[in-house]
Amino acid sequence: MSRTTTAPATATDARPAVAARVVGLRKFYGRGDAVVAALDGISIDFVAGEFTAVMGPSGSGKSTLMHCMAALDTASAGDVFLGDQRLAGLGDKQLTLLRRDKIGFVFQAYNLVPTLTAQENIELPLSIAGRKPDPEWFDTVIDTVGMRDRLRHRPNELSGGQQQRVACARALVSRPQIVFADEPTGNLDSASGAEVLGFLRRSVDDHDQTIVMVTHDPIAAGYTDRVVFLADGVVVDELREPTADAVLEKMKVLSAQAVAGTAAGA
């Protein structure tokens, strides 16, 4: 199956549907002289049904971008759209409901509620919304993450990779419009990381899920459809149909440019 079966069949025009879009997004931290622009004017579209990686050096604003898009943080300037919904101006309650119903999120660590079993964790966003999971979809998700025999276990009885897969299942089970994952494999060894990435890939391929994932790992980026490179809060480049080698090559070029830029600036 192709990696780019993205355009929804229903769309009459050729333009692919946009799952999320940021326009001129800026995010400042601090005040006065100490102000830091974590995001310095980013405009980018995330097409529905696409698996996108966001890469860049430490401190380049990747997490900040995820947080702003996932309605966990507010932008200082510019706009964030989830589908047609503009986030600016929404109150805490609406943002919470948006997160609950439209967004999935996977963190680098500490993703699960320790008092709940794997199954309860997976169902959490649905059950707090007072909804029952679609049993068929639930089964599909469970089988995709391969956690069927571990559903009754609590997080502290699962390995890091298993926990992360449960977290992915939770992010997917409510069929969110978009899933954000901030270094989901950052804490995992390569085998466990591959499990998680394979799972994310399948959910894009088989179920048209839209996923945006932050990573430092070129191999992880190789699983995606598109890589966006950030540096100092702006998009500096992007790569389609990436392979690990291509990504590594691009990273080398970019960091050389950055060094040159700093040297020139000095």
Binding site: L72, R99, R100, Y110, L124, S127, I128, A129
Partner: protein, 849 residues
């Protein structure tokens, strides 16, 4: 290491402040009790010193009987002349003193009353051992003749009388109510302040006429020493010339004796307050243990790191204990301050019920400070010891791990120790029930404490079903939020249990008291129902006996068939004071149905005595035995003529005739009249007639059976209200404990809270989650408390069955309300922690370490 300790104190100031608050409240209770009773003691001692002359002459042991029943003995006037003639005496003044004289205000209200005595004296200018005059005329004239009086400033002020006004008085003498003209204002003692007592000054002959049939007699004589003569010398000289049965004592000795007697009575108040302070302290201990356990658990990583860096176990242990010491010290010092405020409050409260302490100051004696500090520090250190020991057991490698599990003693060990304590506690209670007096009571108390602590230890296990049951309810009603709340209360069973235990202790006592109260009320109802045949009752409204003239006047009311007078006094049998009632057996027989165990009421004559079944049992009396009863004037030999059941309508230990008691030397004062009407007239008719007799005398009230029962139940309610109020503080501390535990748990679960918010839990749902956890803790405490309270209550009722609480009544509705209110309290306790949880910034929460 010290730096780490100090930083911790500063960084966790809110959490520590909350646990310090528990110490503050407990210590405040202790300090307040001492300060207040010292103030009371000081006020009374001031009065005693200010009113005792160099040498006091009175009938032998007069003071011993004065507390209970009016001593009727007197000293002939010629003794005064003999004493005045002594070379060592500068002055000798006879005094006529009568108690039970009350002033009725302009608004027809009784002044003072309900505790403080209504004193009546004649005026003289004797000097007290303080060197100041006992009585000083401040304004106006001294009273002359039968129809004039002087009052003390405060009484006149409260009653709203000016010099020249007609004053209404109630007396226990020939004229139950009388009118007199106010001629002057006097000052009593050196400092002013009569602690709420009222003082009426009469002309000497007027008093003798009213209370001693006009005989020229005195109740006591005050001597002043001549220059260079010691109190002892004059006392010895006086004792040589005094008639038999009258003795002189040095002023210092009399003052000391009276101060000791007051001290004993105040010691009782102090002990009573300290018991509740103790309850608060025990509850506070739970709170402190919990706070320190949680703080240590939260810092376990850091402590492990310290260990990994080379800190010894002992250093870690000491670091935690030092923190406790600082908290305990601050808490105790603050507690003393708050205790002072509490004492001011108590002073105001007692002032409101008649014990006027306006003039008294509140001394903070070194003893108060020392006891408060020792108690505060000891409790804190004791409570912090276990967490500190656990902290020192954290393995250094724990620093490397993600989640550090605190080393916890096994549940099994807790169960074993807990059930052992429960067993010992029950045993101690049983022994206490069998035992008598103070020792029995302390054993019972210690036993209850044992059971409470034992159940607290076991509560992580015992309480689980309650939480699980509640959890099922939560799941139904609140879905996932309910499940989360239930899981949160179960994830740390020890913490939940300790927090709930604090509330459990408070509620156990509240439930226990409510059962005893309900049982006492029901017993009262039943006793009155079953045995009272008299339609109407006249009783005193102010715990002061009244004039027998009232009975006389009521007898002549149309429609009254009989009036049974009932009196009470405290003579001695076998060296200890006993509770004796006196009545006219024939009249009483028509007022009460008295199911005698042995013998009959009719067998009671002037040389006989009836005893209660308890007294018969404890003293081994049988019909025909001789009882030597030591009255003020003489010891009477009485023959046991029957045994009546304890705890019924007759509440005294012994019953004698009116004549026996009067001959013994008690002034005739009634405390209760049982009135039986003639069948031909209606109750309301008789009532109207009696009302006319009692008109203008607010010291006595007329009631029918139902009102009489209500009045007694009202007294029980009042007592209950006081006890509830005092227990309230323990409950407040327990609630603070819930607030503290929840707040700490929320902080501990910051990341989890962030995660929940990130996946779409709304603020409202989050608040509800915290609230439900709080309610779970509160309900657990309440349910355990009510169960224990019911068990204790039933046991105590059984133990007190022969003390008048012979019917068990468990107020289930009220107990259910306690549980509901506790749930509500849980909601309240969660307000702040829930707000805090909801306010957490999502991003900040997920990124916190």
């Amino acid at each position: 290491m010290r730096k780490v300790t100090w930083r911790n104190l500063v960084a966790r100031k809110i959490r520590l402040a909350l646990s310090a608050f528990a110490i503050v409240l407990g210590v405040a209770f202790v300090a307040g009790s001492f300060i207040f009773t010292d103030a009371l003691g000081g006020a009374f001692n001031g009065i005693i010193k200010g009113t005792t002359a160099d040498v006091e002459v009175a009938p032998k042991n007069a003071g011993d009987f004065a507390s209970f029943g009016q001593d009727a003995r007197t000293i002939p006037a010629n003794v005064v002349d003999k004493l005045a003639a002594l070379p060592g005496a500068a002055d000798a003044q006879g005094t006529v003193e009568v108690q039970g004289v009350y002033v009725i205000s302009e608004q027809d209200k009784l002044v003072g009353g309900n505790g403080p005595p209504g004193l009546a004296f004649d005026y003289d200018d004797t000097t007290a051992i303080t060197g100041k005059r006992i009585l000083t005329l401040q304004r106006g004239q001294l009273p002359r003749g039968d129809a004039q009086v002087a009052l003390d400033e405060a009484t006149a002020g409260k009653a709203g009388y000016q010099i020249g006004d007609e004053v209404t008085l109630v007396t226990p003498g020939k004229n139950p109510t009388m009118q007199a003209q106010l001629t002057g204002i006097v000052k009593f003692g050196s400092e002013g302040g009569l602690v709420g007592a009222t003082l009426t000054i009469f002309d000497e002959q007027a008093l003798q006429g009213m209370f001693f049939e006009g005989d020229d007699v005195y109740t006591s004589i005050s001597l002043t020493t001549a220059d260079g003569v010691s109190q002892q010398e004059l006392t010895d000289a006086a004792n040589k010339v005094l008639p038999k049965g009258v003795v002189a004592e040095t002023g210092d000795a009399v003052a000391k004796k009276n101060e000791d007697a007051i001290g004993e009575a105040l010691g009782f108040i102090n002990k009573f307050l300290l018991i509740f302070a103790g309850v608060s302290m025990v509850v506070g201990t739970f709170l402190i243990i919990n706070t320190f356990s949680i703080l240590v658990a939260q810092r376990s990583r850091e402590l492990a790191l310290l260990r990994a860096l080379g800190a010894s176990r002992r250093q870690v242990n000491r670091a935690v204990l030092t923190e406790a010491l600082v908290v305990g010290m601050l808490g105790s010092l603050l507690g003393i301050g708050v205790g002072y405020l509490l004492a001011i409050g108590l002073k105001a409260l007692f002032g409101a019920i008649g014990l006027d302490l306006a003039g008294a100051d509140l001394p903070i004696q070194p003893r108060t400070v020392v006891v408060s500090l020792v108690v505060g520090l000891l409790v804190t250190l004791l409570a912090a010891y276990l967490p500190a020991r656990r902290a020192s057991r954290i393995a250094p490698v724990a620093a490397m791990r993600d989640e550090v599990a605190m080393p916890e003693s096994t549940v099994r060990r807790r169960l074993v120790i807990g059930s052992g304590l429960v067993f010992l506690g029950i045993a101690s209670m049983v022994v206490g029930f069998i035992g008598e007096g103070g020792a029995g009571l302390s054993l019972t108390g210690a036993g209850m404490l044992g059971v409470l602590v034992g159940v607290s230890l076991m509560s992580p296990v015992v309480g689980r079903p309650v939480i699980v049951g509640l959890g099922a309810l939560y799941r139904r009603a609140f879905g996932t939020v309910g499940v989360l709340a239930k899981e949160n209360s179960l994830r740390n069973p020890r913490r939940t249990a300790a927090t709930a235990s604090a509330l459990m202790i408070g509620l156990t006592l509240v439930a226990l008291m409510s059962i005893l109260g309900a049982s006492a009320k029901k017993s009262t109802d039943q006793a009155i129902d079953e045995s009272l045949t008299a339609e109407l009752i006249v009783s005193n409204a102010i715990a002061q006996d009244f004039s027998p003239q009232i009975a006389e006047q009521i007898r002549s009311v149309d429609g009254v068939a009989s009036v049974a007078q009932f009196r009470q006094a405290g003579p001695e049998v076998g060296g200890e004071q006993v509770y004796v009632g006196a009545t006219d057996p024939t009249a009483l027989a028509s007022a009460l149905k008295l199911p005698m165990d042995v013998g009959g009421l009719s067998a009671l004559d002037d040389s006989a005595v009836l005893v209660s079944s308890n007294t018969a049992k404890s003293k081994g009396y049988e019909v025909g035995d001789q009882v030597a009863m030591k009255f003020p004037k003489m010891t009477e030999k009485l023959t046991v003529a029957g045994v009546y059941p304890s705890g019924g309508a007759l509440f005294t230990d012994y019953l004698v005739t009116l004549d026996a008691m009067e001959t013994g030397g008690y002034a005739p004062r009634d405390s209760l009249l049982y009135i039986t009407k003639e069948p031909r007239v209606s109750e309301s008719q008789v009532r109207a007639g009696i009302d006319a007799v009692l008109e203008g005398n607010p010291t006595v009230t007329l009631k029918n059976q139902k009102e009489f029962a209500d009045e007694q139940k009202q007294q029980i309610n009042q007592l209950l209200a006081i006890v509830y109020a005092l227990l309230g503080l323990a409950v407040v501390i327990a609630v603070l404990g819930i607030v503290n535990t929840l707040a700490l748990s929320v902080i501990e679960r910051t990341r989890e809270v962030g995660l929940l918010r990130a996946v779409g839990v709304t603020r409202r749902q989050l608040r509800r989650m915290v609230r439900l956890e709080s309610v779970a803790i509160a309900v657990l405490g309440a349910v355990l408390g009510v169960i224990l309270g019911v068990a204790f209550g039933i046991a105590l009722q059984r133990a007190l069955a022969d003390q008048g609480i012979d019917v068990l009544s468990v107020p289930w509705v009220q107990l259910a309300i306690f549980v509901l209110v506790s749930a509500l309290v849980g909601v309240l306790a969660a307000v702040l922690p829930a707000m805090r949880a909801a306010k957490l910034d999502v991003l900040r929460a997920i990124t916190t370490e």
